[in-house]
């Protein structure tokens, strides 16, 4: 279980997160909702420990957290495979080629395998982010805007992958603006508004 207690974060006297407390059980698919600038990304960054928090604490109970931000998450001069190998080195994990090839095909990236990542479209970059998540071991995936830049088929694939991961008792917390499209797959949803969670 992921326990967050009284999490606060400010930027230049503006309180973005104000004493947020919540618990998330494992095996849940959780949506984090809110307007632009409401603090969704800040929340994910604070929980994943890349951003310093003002007060409060986040208890992972020794679970492994993977945070994928809303950027490209690539080394742009590498191709998909080299990028994956590099990231796996940073996580001290080795590549399972069968798993890699399986998800490469599922995500529709097979034909772009040898291209440098800087030459991929934004939609395919987004799919590559999912490929990274599928090849790494983790208990909690915190992913910022996983559906942005994706066409309808891409969104469908991501939904299926999320449900597949959930069936393996993995927890996914994702931020989105457009909850209506993904309401059917979520177990819980939280809205960040004026620094508080509802």
């Amino acid at each position: 279980m992921l326990n967050i207690r009284n999490l606060s974060k400010s930027f230049s006297n503006t309180k973005i997160l104000n004493e947020i407390s919540l618990s998330i059980d494992s095996g849940k698919l959780v949506a984090l909702l809110g307007k632009n600038g409401s603090g969704k990304t800040t929340f994910l960054k604070c929980v994943s420990n890349i951003m310093n928090i003002d007060s409060g604490n986040v208890d992972y109970n020794q679970s492994r957290i993977l945070f994928l931000n809303d950027k490209e998450n690539i080394f742009s001069d590498l191709n998909i495979l080299d990028n994956m190998k590099c990231i796996l080195h940073f996580y001290n994990q080795s590549l399972d080629l069968d798993v890699y090839n399986k998800y490469l095909s599922v995500l529709g990236l097979k034909e772009f395998e040898n291209l440098k990542l800087k030459n991929l479209s934004k939609g395919n970059i987004q799919r590559n982010k999912l490929l990274i998540a599928l090849n790494l071991s983790w208990d909690y995936l915190l992913i910022d805007e996983p559906f942005s830049n994706l066409d309808d088929s891409g969104k469908g694939i991501v939904k299926e992958i999320f449900l597949h991961l959930k069936s393996k008792n993995k927890t996914i917390i994702f931020s989105t603006h457009n909850f209506n499209q993904f309401e059917d797959i979520c177990d819980e949803s939280f809205m960040i508004k004026e620094g508080k969670i509802n």
């Binding site: 994928l68 690539i74 940073f90 990274i132």
Partner: protein, 220 residues
């Protein structure tokens, strides 16, 4: 583990479109152009060469550090790397070792090429120069990484980074230059003992500070 990280950094530098080949070529071009302006006396040539050599080394080391972090930030992969379960000091050491090795390669290449066209500098000195370069590079790169991270959140970082870094690395450059001159002129070892001790202190200080503070500096 650290070997995998070093391999990663080397691969990224080699595959980068803004890589060390261009830096080395730029550095060598600067030196070759300056050869013609050197006075025709051995001692003057070595003194000026030494100054040029270490200024080039300082600029290349800054470029190496900036490229590496810029690559991670532009690709948006910074968060993914620094939230990995690997101890952050290993990430610092991997960067330190890789950049020091790259810088060493650049230094050897420049020195060897220069020694081919100069009668004042002999290629036999390469192993002594190599030892000097290793100690200097660790200090230069270690301090460079730390100061880059300290200034990276400031909007004036392009200005602040060199502004803070240059005064910090000036002692390294001056003493490296002293030893370089001593080695080229085959001076007695007592000529550069103190300089060697100072370079060792900087190298040690950079490693200790980096190992202890890198984790705090990469968070924002």
């Amino acid at each position: 583990m650290i070997f995998k990280l070093i391999k990663n950094e080397l691969l990224l530098e080699i595959k980068s479109s803004n890589n060390l080949f261009y830096m080395t070529f730029f550095a060598l071009s600067c030196l070759m152009l300056s050869v013609f302006s050197f006075p025709p006396s051995k001692i003057n040539e070595i003194i000026i060469l030494s100054g040029f050599f270490w200024i080039i080394v300082a600029l290349v080391s800054i470029k190496l550090i900036e490229n590496s972090f810029a690559r991670e930030k532009e690709g948006g992969i910074y968060d993914l790397i620094y939230t990995s379960p690997i101890e952050n000091y290993l990430l610092f050491l991997a960067k330190l070792i890789t950049f020091s090795l790259i810088l060493l390669g650049v230094q050897i290449f420049i020195f060897m090429t220069y020694s081919l066209i100069s009668i004042s500098v002999s290629i036999d000195l390469i192993f002594k120069i190599l030892a000097l370069c290793i100690i200097s590079d660790i200090g230069l790169i270690g301090l460079g990484i730390l100061i880059y991270l300290m200034t990276s959140l400031n909007i004036s970082r392009s200005f602040l980074f060199p502004l803070i870094l240059f005064p910090m690395i000036t002692p390294i450059l001056i003493h490296s230059s002293n030893i370089f001159i001593g080695l080229c002129l085959d001076s007695d070892i007592s000529f550069y003992t103190e300089s060697t001790m100072l370079l060792l202190t900087f190298a040690l200080m950079a490693v200790v500070l980096g190992v202890n503070f890198f984790e705090r500096l990469i968070k924002y």
